[in-house]
Symmetry: C2
């Protein structure tokens, strides 16, 4: 097991009605907050009203910033930062899924940074301080509610880049599974694919000595298969929604890579899809993942995919390793299809036109320490396999 | 899944050489610390010297309190509190296993409490504030390095009682698996039994809807079986020591009971054994656990023990449920014997003399919300089964 540090400062209040704790938690840390949300679903499903009641009950002032995009744009963060400064706000409240929370992280850090917030994504600066961030989660997917990562998009340059810093952990996150009941089946499925992809990125590592990390990864994958399908079929199953929501947080809060070297592959490739075509993140991941698996399957990696097949898909461990590995990859592909996700880029109307450029951009990230190192050519090949 | 709050403020630096971070972490929070340790093994194995070098390098003053007992006594905590006050100390550093850390928690909270520290164990007071606590762990067992619980003993009254409060989480814990290499096989085995018992207490619950909690419990149990045996045989196996150490922290830091009702049984019964006979905690647990399992096995509970047998012991899930349950319990008993732990109270020279009194004292805790509610008579019966 490699050395690591565990340090998750986020307080999670999990369960039905936990929003009742929001006002007190904010009041202990801030007086005037920026309230970010997306296209308005939180106004229709009651989450916005419940949050505002909490602010009112604790005499916390607020300013709204609606309209945060599904792939949040840096311009929106700039607007949030302007509001924080003009209105002298000392906290940020995100109501929504990963996009809203990511944008809120950029605002919270950018408000205390003397420069343009795109500097964080461009790796010109690392946030050193941030306004306290509070989140009310409405979608189980990105895990942003319990990590320090934000992904922002810059449509002008076709860039989608992440940043991360200890000050960007939410102070408090409210995770109420009932808030995800109204999520359409397609979004639920895409969220499930995102959770599974985070888990795959952490799980497939050359090193296998971190037993708890690997076992929890397998448990999260099994849970996604079970409860993802259940939530798509039965949107108001509390058990399914609750387990999916808790999986989302733990797939990416750091536990799964503690003690092992991890380098992400599929997310980097997918980010270029989103940047070029504004693809739903989880859909891009569901399309690329089985093809990435197929591409990196070799004599050197097949034992890892075989283990995945046994532990996650319950395959018979007495079968030959290669057979297990191939069956596991096929199970993965079939599962994503079974919950209604597209299986090819063609279905999204995406052709090979930009593959070279996308691969070159993806390859600016470090692909040398990934499970299997990938060249620009390899990435193009995986895009092509996904057509 | 039931509602819960996740809030673990402890920072963990895990791995070989991580003590290099101790001085900086303390210096950020305290200037003068009380250094607690036990019988002197930390002076022989270099842990004490390494810690003191950290204090010196960061100009942190210190006062020693050696001699903390294996079942730490309230008198020792009182002495620590006296030193903190007299020497105007503003931090507490524990070098050792669970006993030293528990005593350090009592000192850290007691130093800021206007009353006798036994009040915490006697449930007359709950700690509201504590000096910042730092730990360097030398034994994988109690999990005290990452939880807010302390167990103190009062030999005058034959009492051993726990307390818990949010202020009692360590601020920073250094977990270096190499520090456990010198632990004797018997202590390693007892520690493994302790980790497994914490996991059992959380795992066996009437409710089975918290998938990640239950899956991580199963993973910890499998890891204890694999790495506990390995560490007993090969004391300097880094992989075994590291995995055991990380298991110890997660068996009791709260993750395993998030979302489910949990009521501990065996620990309460064992505490009386320790209080009356000063039994090594893990040994008492190893003796009582299989007998508790056998006693509470019924038509209503057998499916839980069957699942345990399949997931932890790899038993064939097509076997009849009762058969699986009984085999799993027998596997548990055989495992503890295989790592060199006694199987009966008789081996420790303990007879039935105090069973009634011990059971009455144990029963002052709430046994109504345990996996299977137990009366005084039930507890006596389990002690008798363990003779």
């Amino acid at each position: 097991m490699q050395n690591f540090t565990f340090d998750i400062p986020t307080v999670i209040h999990f369960g039905k009605g936990q929003i009742e704790k929001l006002g007190g938690e904010i009041a202990a840390r801030a007086h005037r907050v920026l309230v970010l949300y997306g296209g308005g679903s939180v106004r229709r499903n009651g989450v916005y009203d419940a949050a505002i009641r909490q602010l009112q009950a604790h005499s916390i002032a607020w300013v709204d910033l609606p309209g945060v995009e599904p792939n949040p744009r840096i311009a929106t963060a700039r607007e949030g930062i302007r509001l924080c400064r003009e209105e002298k706000l000392d906290g940020v409240l995100a109501l929504g899924g990963g996009s809203v929370i990511d944008c809120a992280k950029c605002v919270a850090a950018g408000a205390l940074y003397d420069g343009d917030p795109w500097d964080f994504s461009a790796k010109k600066a690392v946030p050193e301080q941030a306004l306290p961030l509070f989140t009310v989660l409405t979608m189980a997917a990105t895990g942003s509610e319990m990590d320090s990562i934000a992904v922002m998009s810059n449509p002008e340059t076709c860039e989608k880049e992440s940043f991360s810093a200890p000050c960007c952990y939410p102070a408090v996150s409210i995770l109420d599974p009932t808030y995800t009941y109204s999520l359409p089946a397609f979004q639920t499925a895409a969220g499930t694919a995102d959770i599974m992809s985070h888990t795959f990125e952490n799980y497939f590592s050359p090193v296998e000595t971190s037993y708890l990390a690997d076992s929890l990864a397998e448990a999260i994958l099994r849970a996604c298969v079970r409860y993802g399908a259940q939530a798509v079929k039965t949107p108001d199953s509390y058990e399914a929604r609750a387990n999916l929501m808790w999986c989302a947080s733990w797939a990416i809060n750091g536990f799964l890579n503690m003690g092992k070297p991890v380098g992400w592959s599929v997310h980097r490739m997918e980010h270029e899809l989103s940047a070029f075509y504004d693809v739903t993140h989880g859909v891009g991941l569901a399309i690329l993942t089985p093809n990435w698996m197929r591409y990196v399957l070799s004599e050197g990696t097949e034992h890892r995919f075989a283990r995945y097949g046994v532990e996650v898909w319950g395959l018979d461990r007495s079968l030959p390793q290669r057979e297990l590995a191939e069956a596991a990859i096929e199970k993965t592909r079939a599962f994503f299809s079974s919950i209604g996700l597209p299986a090819t880029l063609g279905e999204l109307g995406i052709g090979p036109k930009h593959f070279e450029e996308m691969a070159r951009k993806a390859r600016t990230a470090n692909f040398d320490r990934t499970f299997v190192p990938l060249s620009v050519e390899d990435i193009v090949n995986i895009y092509r396999l996904s057509l």
